[in-house]
Symmetry: D3
Subunit: 250 residues, 6 copies
């Protein structure tokens, strides 16, 4: 079994000090007219489950809510349905969960993130926890996009140019991933050809309403496909497995 | 559609100021040898979904982690797999989510809780938020056990005596509810006849290891059944629908 | 001597690692037209003093202010004169005091509470402190109502039916206790026959003004008497003494 | 009636927007071999009661615990029986209480302090509260020593030279005040002739154990008397009354 | 005059609601064997001063300490001399300063950052402040590297390939900038040819000691020159001026 | 070299466990019509540099912003240009910096303060840090005014009477110090003869606008001179050197 949520405590107890415990972290954030608000969490949970199957890991219930969406990587906080946590809250939340795992005797923790804006706050939480961890405990954090090679980028962006990872929001990679992980939630017919025209080179508050397209799309999503989703998943998963093996299995 | 997680932001946007938004809150907590760690969250999500169907509501992604399990209502924090948040963290988490909803223009919020120990901290969060809510916004919090009549209690506890709600942990009501909401996660064959023998009349720290049975069972779970689950669900749901109608529909 | 407030530090110093240190926790909260705002603190201080006499304990200065009054257990925060602390403040306050005691070398701490709403926050503070306590240190928390047997309840509620502990606010038990602990502050002539008519089965914010009677009385106080106060005190005190003896004296 | 603790909420309610509400703030701190740990709170409560009688004020239950004792003004934190709050805790505690008063409609608040080290943290709390106070609300903070004239100092320090207010700890002024406010708690026979020999001109941590005399006495207490207590009380009280009249009565 | 630190309050007062107030934010962080620990702050202060001259702005005293150095963008926290703030501290610090400016009536605030790791926490602070800003107040945040065009990158990286901004730590751009801003603090003779060999594609805690070169250099610094510094400054400054003009001058 | 900001990490690393590390703490605060807003920080940095030269110390980058100016010691928060931190922020800031030093292996830390209002909050931070410091680590805090003898006071206040240290704000001592440390920032021609007429004997909020002179001057600055600056510096520096030698060099 991979899902902690369906385990009894007896089942968790038997495996807790031997197996990698995987914490998926997502967000509730606008992803344009065609993708669900839970896109990031679906992706994190999807990768976590696949990784657990490969490395005999345990998938924890996800952190469903994430840090504040930024205009140039998620459309920003002004879209209804984007439900953001303050930085200090996310730090405390992750800290508490990791500390509980460690108190339970867990030694191998892998955080799987797929919401760009979470990164700094997840690392802050992990850093604070790591200062008091017992010897031998390790925490890794992985984001799928960091594991994609240029070769795969070239294949995925065969027609549309690659806009960089931050701007790849609700665009080809995420659409392709959801087409694979939760196809029933994608509305390809609603996808429109819109993208951020002028990527801001600075930040301004109050955030202007017209900084990003009204649809919330930052980059072109055309040419998304389940096949591309498979390609990305295969490579990112391979990377994750090899990280887990390298860090935890020797 | 009831699940916010599967909505696009367009879909949420259209309904956000008309419909009740329902936030299920659970926990990751030992529930004996036969029930899953996610028992409370499964129940909260189950009720939230049913309620949403009845009142045309929107179910938010759950708060998956809850406040610290207490010995006399959840077995306490010493069971591996029980992953608890500190009080201040849960308060901040709920506060942030509610404030984001309100900033989005949501006016009707229903918090559905099924983890006993969450109550004080959820109310603290709601209280803090309510001090700055715009006129016309309302938040209700409901726990299913508060909506069960003596009549139903008598039916459910036909053989085993009712031990009180706090002690009804991993026992007849929760087992029956999970038999209905997620039967594939229940292991009736592993259920044993164990209960807390001497209910403590005070609290002591460090929490003694032998305060509760080694299984984590606080009360007798025998006689649990899907039928009893249906009975409880029917009555609690009726109560929830009537609360929502009373508070939000006039 | 029992009262730490009247001790010199020399006197405290000599007893600090041998004797039980008792921390009374109360509140400043409406208690109807006939009881003083300090009802809870008076009761906690009263029990603490009696307990100290029995077990050779030291009574600390009380925590005079408590957590937020709730409508269905204290009338709620809308009554002028109810002065409530935020949850995080009460947690920090209790944490600091307990940690100071422990730094001083105190090994045996008993928290005596008589404000229903304090419970979750007191336990959170104690839990946080207990994670770093030196071996051999113990903290117990006691609330007088948890120590009353059904037999005594039957005697006290000889005419008026027992409404449950949460609703026993400014009613027979508290009135009887104050008639014993601080009779000069009770105005029996102002006591009126009022009670909450429909006990709410859920919480709603903003808290409706008409949820509880205008007097702040939640249950019937008629038949209160000093004799009943004595009865309750005798039994609760016996319980407290036996807890202290069990936890600290072996 | 002056004591809020003995008022019913009806009584408080009638006076809350007309009368000055007085909050005494003290500490639990070593005061040498002859004075009680509660010396500061006794003094604050004593002044608060007298002031209330003069200006028809309402005395709140005291803040019993204060900020950390410093070596050169209270002996420091190493004396058993000195129970100190962290700075952030005291700030939050005072903030909560003041905000509750203001929510209740109180317009005139006087904080009466007698623990030297509390000052900065009390002012921080008041400052934070004052940023959001309704127009017309005022908070004053008074410490008795700020109201003593040179003439009175000369009278009180007729034999022993005045060491400055910070060092006047457990010495002539405080002993004289307690001889007046709570004479039964003073042990003049235990008073010894000891004082800090070299007043430190800087702070060092860890705090050296030999920085202050082993008795905790910082200055000479000889020549303390009830008459001197009366003298100090008379003058400080006159000052407090005139402050209240000036700030609140026009 | 540009430097607030040298202004009297009269001078600041006259300009506070007309002129842009510029807040430089830096860090104290290892920058290899040849650059000073204050590299980032020197750069921020340098840009702030030049910008102020161009737009008649006021430069505030810098925030001297920044967020935690990360291995792949600053070498990480293990280098002595790297003095990092926790995330919550930096957020609070920036929040307080911005709120004070706004209370003083300042309407135009430009934050100039040059420490990569600060970004998320600065934006969190600005976001929190912006929720309560008076209408008409604006805050921009600028990092010099976001304003450099590909053309300039090509010129600066004429021999050594551009490793991306995160890895450009203590390398060509920062060395060139310090050669211009504070040449006396650069030790070109100590610069060695070292760089991170395998850029990590994930994060792991505890941070391994051998993740980055022992020198703290992440990329090649050879070919740094004052001329390149001038080139970068000219372009970034032009960008900053145009941002300020666009956001504040219409 | 004395300035950490200009050191490479190699240079800091070699000296970090042998030499005293000096942290100057200042403020951004009104100092009348003739002194710069950075007066306190200039003084702290000035003393820190001189002290470092004497004891082979290392001067850290200053804490540029300080705690809230008070009317009777700094004019209060109402003067534009006075940029104050909240108490909790300053505590956290100092705590983080000290803890980082200690993690780096620094054993000898001297905090040099020159902003009156900082004192309580600096000590709170140091106290919190000191509870977990490794054996052998020491932190001292020094404020220059505590090191001035009566003899020097008599010389400096040859014409104008000494008003006490709290009121010596933007007056003779600070003006004389800046005339020595940063003469180019002093405008003696703008100095006017103004002082607080009635020193308040209590605090009141909201802070009245007319509590202090409109210029922000609390005491007479006439007769300030570079010579007096030299006198004060010589004596305070001697005191600091002797403290450092006493605490760290045996």
């Amino acid at each position: 079994m991979t899902q902690m949520k369906h385990m009894t405590w007896y089942e968790f107890n038997e495996r807790k000090d031997k197996d990698v415990v995987i914490l998926p972290v997502g967000s509730v954030e606008q992803h344009g007219p065609h993708l669900p608000l839970f896109t990031d969490t679906i992706i994190s949970e999807g990768f976590a489950e696949l990784l657990a199957q490969e490395v005999n890991g345990i998938v924890m219930p996800a952190i469903n809510y994430g840090y504040k969406s930024q205009p140039a990587s998620g459309g920003g906080p002004l879209f209804p349905g984007t439900i953001d946590l303050n930085g200090v809250t996310l730090i405390a939340l992750v800290q508490d969960i990791l500390e509980e795992l460690i108190r339970d005797g867990v030694k191998q923790i892998a955080v799987v993130n797929s919401h760009f804006e979470n990164q700094a706050f997840l690392l802050e939480a992990i850093d604070l926890v790591s200062r008091h961890m017992p010897e031998g405990t390790k925490i890794v954090m992985m984001s799928w996009w960091d594991l994609i090679t240029q070769e795969t980028i070239d294949k995925v962006f065969d027609e549309v140019p690659f806009p960089g990872w931050a701007l790849e929001h609700a665009a080809i990679t995420e659409t392709s991933l959801i087409l694979k992980f939760a196809p029933e939630t994608v509305h390809m017919d609603r996808l429109i050809e819109e993208k951020i025209e002028e990527v801001p080179t600075y930040q301004v508050y109050p955030i202007p309403k017209d900084l990003v397209p009204a649809s919330g799309l930052l980059s072109i999503g055309r040419t998304s496909s389940q096949e591309k989703g498979e390609l990305i998943i295969a490579e990112a998963l391979k990377g994750m497995v090899s990280i887990v093996n390298k860090e935890f299995k020797n």
